[in-house]
């Protein structure tokens, strides 16, 4: 049998990609954190396409000589939002005034040391001057979904997650949208790793208009 085309994609894309790929024959999605995927690809994983939630990891592969720069492209954008459990959601302004609330009801976010969403959140918090207070009390999670789960369970009062995650959950409400200029752009990159024609075809399909529709529905912004 023909080897399927394998799309190694950041875990945050699990749902939209699963839906997109289910329409194509012979294309599989493989999900994990971008860092894990990058290391697997470095280790020789049978990946045809790599979608990273962070240019850092696609660059890493380029540095290691595994991918060529011309094979990569920006793919999606996302935004950060502050969410609260639905029943206790009170809109708030994302500036220094939010500090007290974050300190009291606690704030969950991806671990800024390695979770891309976390590092963007850290940048935003730094920009508004709250990070020094929150550094040691923020609930750092292993990935964005975990931060979302903390909010869904009411374990924390606030969480900083991707807009795409917030759309998908019906247990949380967005209480603030973080201005994009407070952090580096949230950029998903897509990298073609093999020369197989099927891989190229799959890449084209992911980048076409129908796909963009689907991705939009899940809260992602596609790039032209």
């Amino acid at each position: 049998a023909q080897e399927p085309v394998r799309v190694f994609a950041a875990a945050s894309l699990t749902e939209p990609l699963t839906q997109l790929l289910s329409q194509q024959n012979g294309v599989d999605g493989v999900f994990a954190s971008s860092g894990t995927l990058a290391r697997q690809i470095e280790g020789g994983a049978p990946a045809d396409i790599f979608i990273s939630a962070n240019p850092k990891w696609s660059n890493y592969l380029i540095e290691k000589g595994i991918a060529r720069p011309e094979q990569g492209a920006d793919f999606l954008r996302n935004r950060l939002v502050v969410v609260s459990p639905k029943e206790s959601a009170i809109p708030l302004v994302f500036d220094t005034t939010a500090g007290a609330a974050f300190l009291q009801d606690r704030l969950a976010m991806g671990d800024p040391d390695h979770v891309p969403a976390g590092s963007y959140a850290k940048q935003a918090l730094q920009a508004i001057g709250l990070w020094s207070d929150l550094d040691s009390v923020a609930v750092r999670t292993a990935n964005v979904r975990a931060a979302l789960a903390f909010v869904e369970q009411g374990a924390v009062g606030y969480g900083i997650v991707y807009a795409s995650d917030a759309t998908a959950s019906d247990k949380v409400a967005v209480v603030a949208t973080i201005p994009e200029d407070l952090h580096q752009p949230i950029l998903y990159t897509i990298t073609l790793l093999s020369d197989r024609p099927e891989a190229k075809a799959a890449l084209t399909l992911l980048q076409n208009g129908d796909s963009a529709e689907v991705l939009k529905r899940f809260g992602f912004q596609t790039l032209p």
Binding site: S33, G35, T36, A38, K56, W57, Y60, R106, A108, D111, D113, H114, V115, D135, S136, V137, A138, V139, R140, T141, A142, A146, A149, F150, Q153, G154, A155
Partner: protein
């Protein structure tokens, strides 16, 4: 020799692992005894529940803990409201998670020992006037001491290495819940931090090794104390 980052993670890990193991020990002994000797309906269910943390991915266990023991959870909420105790996001919570993950291993080791105890010795103690608990403490417990030592070392090692449930339940809060595995995970996810990660991995192995060697010494003494050593030499 150790960076402050490493020292912090190490001390926290030792505290969490130690308390998790000691806290799980008594329940583990009781449950093993029940499983090894008791005859009651739904024993298989208890057996299954005890083993669940072994089978279900740690992340799921962490998630379930979060649901149950989180500040709004059915157990966590009353704890917080009535006693002011919060477990989630604290090192105590990390110990709970580690203890639960270590629990099935501890139960199994003790139970295996229990099932090999010669019950004729317990009978002999009974004829000499020892009641059920007395027999347990004076005969059974000393005889299963090697199993208990193994259970402690297994439990401690598992608790030291616990990651998935911990990060899910108490997250990765520096100084509070960032044990060695969590620190290691952080490093592993950072490009270029391989060397640091390696150091930390080695450190965990060294700690475990020290615990292991200590346990061997204790185990040998215990076996000698219960007369197993001599039987072997004879």
């Amino acid at each position: 020799m150790l960076t402050p980052f490493e020292t912090e993670a190490l001390l926290l890990s030792l505290k969490v692992g130690g308390i998790a193991t000691l806290g799980a020990l008594i329940p583990a002994i009781l449950i093993s005894y029940l499983l090894a000797r008791g005859r009651f309906p739904l024993k298989w269910l208890l057996d299954g529940i005890v083993h669940a943390p072994l089978v279900v991915p740690p992340v799921v266990i962490g998630y379930l803990l979060l649901i149950g023991l989180g500040p709004r959870g059915p157990i966590g909420a009353p704890l917080k409201d009535w006693f002011g105790i919060t477990i989630a996001f604290t090192w105590q919570g990390a110990a709970v998670a580690a203890g639960i993950m270590a629990f099935p291993l501890m139960v199994r080791a003790i139970r295996l020992s229990l099932e090999q105890v010669d019950m004729r010795l317990e009978q002999a103690a009974t004829t000499l006037g020892a009641g059920r608990w007395d027999v347990f403490f004076s005969i059974t417990l000393p005889m299963i001491a090697p199993g208990i030592v193994v259970s402690i070392i297994l439990g401690f090692a598992r608790a030291l290495g616990e990651f998935g449930a911990t990060i899910t339940f108490v997250a990765n809060i520096p100084g509070e819940t960032r044990t060695m595995p969590l620190a290691l995970y952080t490093l592993a996810q950072t490009p270029g931090a391989e060397a640091q990660a390696g150091r930390l991995a080695l450190l965990s192995v060294v700690v475990a090794l020290i615990a292991l060697i200590a346990s061997e010494v204790i185990a040998r003494k215990t076996r000698r104390a219960i007369g197993l050593h001599g039987e072997r030499a004879a």
